[in-house]
Symmetry: none
Subunit: 223 residues, 2 copies
DNA sequence: TGGACGATGACATTTCGATGACACGGACGG
DNA sequence: CCGTCCGTGTCATCGAAATGTCATCGTCCA
């Protein structure tokens, strides 16, 4: 899951991405509406975190504008203006959630995860595939009850695959959703991550490679 | 199925063809309208993906021009100009579909496949010929319910034949639609692929050779 | 009966995924 | 502040699968 954070406050520019990354999200940062527009132009995000007030304007106006054109990516606004009127504005103008400063980064993380999930295959806090259980809230994965120590990237990739069981997912799709803008689409990062995942899962063929297409988890009915 | 991608952005020049190829499409690349015109003159394509803005002009003007001459190949425009007015323009001037940047390459692939299919046998998700079923979305082929492991080329050739049941398809036509520009029309790649297909289909005469003409699938009513 | 054409199988080449070794950088603890 | 560990990305290499090439054989028809 990939998130764009649009924030001009220097403290939050550090804290917010850090918190989201530790939740296995890929995070890009933009410091203005113009920069955000550019990033949204180039990449596919699963969620956007907008500060209300940015150097080049009020982000609500921007989001409203995009919504009118059918843009559907979930948005969470951060704001210090905590009046009820503003809160209403946030929702009316295309915001999906709202967080009033000061806020706990943990809370932000939880809300962003929820928004990402909402956009995807219907909010499931615990994902299952055969005897693999992913607790997306705690960021824990168990295989047959045994806790596997997955890293953030491994978690992100497995989550993406597991929410798309039975579908083949291309490398570029994985890069697009599990890595941030710094990722090189030509490298074999995905391969490397898949390999580490397979090792930790202790069953290499749980994740199947589809030659020329990508990877997939096959819905195994009986087994 | 063969697709022409017209794109001047270097990142997309890599990513888009890669994604389409992984969907078993043969892809050629042009970097300008002039190059595209040349390619369209020389080869037959099942679909064209046009970037809106190219170094030598707006591709919409070009497509409109070609449409006026009766040109009917499906076109998908990629654009960053996401105003409603532009969207309308895209359709009015001969575009069959429209994708606003940023887009997920998976989405692009899905739309292109859909356009290719629409142009052919009118959007059939599952193609059938006798007891052969092709799931074009999933890229799977079954014979009497049994999954056959077809490779990308085999799939492409069978798909082309099956959507033209009862018609004889020449080798050059197959080369043109299932291979990219690098293919040598004099070689017997087609023969080799047909042979492998026959083997996997387990019935050699399912694909019939027409001496001096090419190959065809015959609509067998009783059998 | 000879020649053109398709079928076939062996083999060469290319492509792609798997793998392990290593490099880099940030986090953390001493 | 330094050293170590861990997560992550990169690279070279290997091997298997896919694809392309070639020589040969069979067959159909003039």
């Amino acid at each position: 899951m990939r998130v764009l954070v649009v924030e001009d406050n220097e403290d939050l520019q550090v804290a917010v991405p850090a918190a989201l990354r530790s939740a296995a999200l890929a995070v890009d940062l933009a410091v203005s509406i113009a920069a955000a527009d550019e990033a949204l132009f180039v990449n596919a995000y699963d969620c956007v975190v907008f500060d209300r007030l940015l150097p080049d304007g009020d982000s609500i106006r921007y989001v409203r504008h995009r919504r009118e054109q059918g843009w559907a990516v979930p948005v969470l606004f951060l704001t210090g203006l905590d009046t009820l009127a503003d809160r209403v504005d946030g929702f009316e103008y295309g915001g999906d959630d709202y967080l009033v400063k000061p806020f706990a980064v943990a809370e932000l993380t939880a809300r962003v995860l929820s928004l990402c999930r909402r956009a995807g295959t219907g909010r499931t806090p615990v994902l299952r595939y055969q005897d693999v259980e992913m607790d997306t809230g705690r960021r824990e994965v168990r295989r047959g009850g045994v806790l596997l120590g997955l890293t953030a990237k491994e978690f992100a990739v497995l989550e993406y695959l597991i929410t798309r069981t039975d579908r083949t997912v291309s490398r570029s799709e994985l890069i697009e959703h599990c890595w941030d803008a710094a990722a090189d689409p030509m490298s074999n990062v995905v391969d490397a991550t898949i390999r580490r995942l397979r090792t930790k899962l202790r069953t290499p063929d749980l994740i199947e490679a589809v030659r020329g297409q990508g990877y997939r988890l096959v819905r195994a009915d009986g087994a």
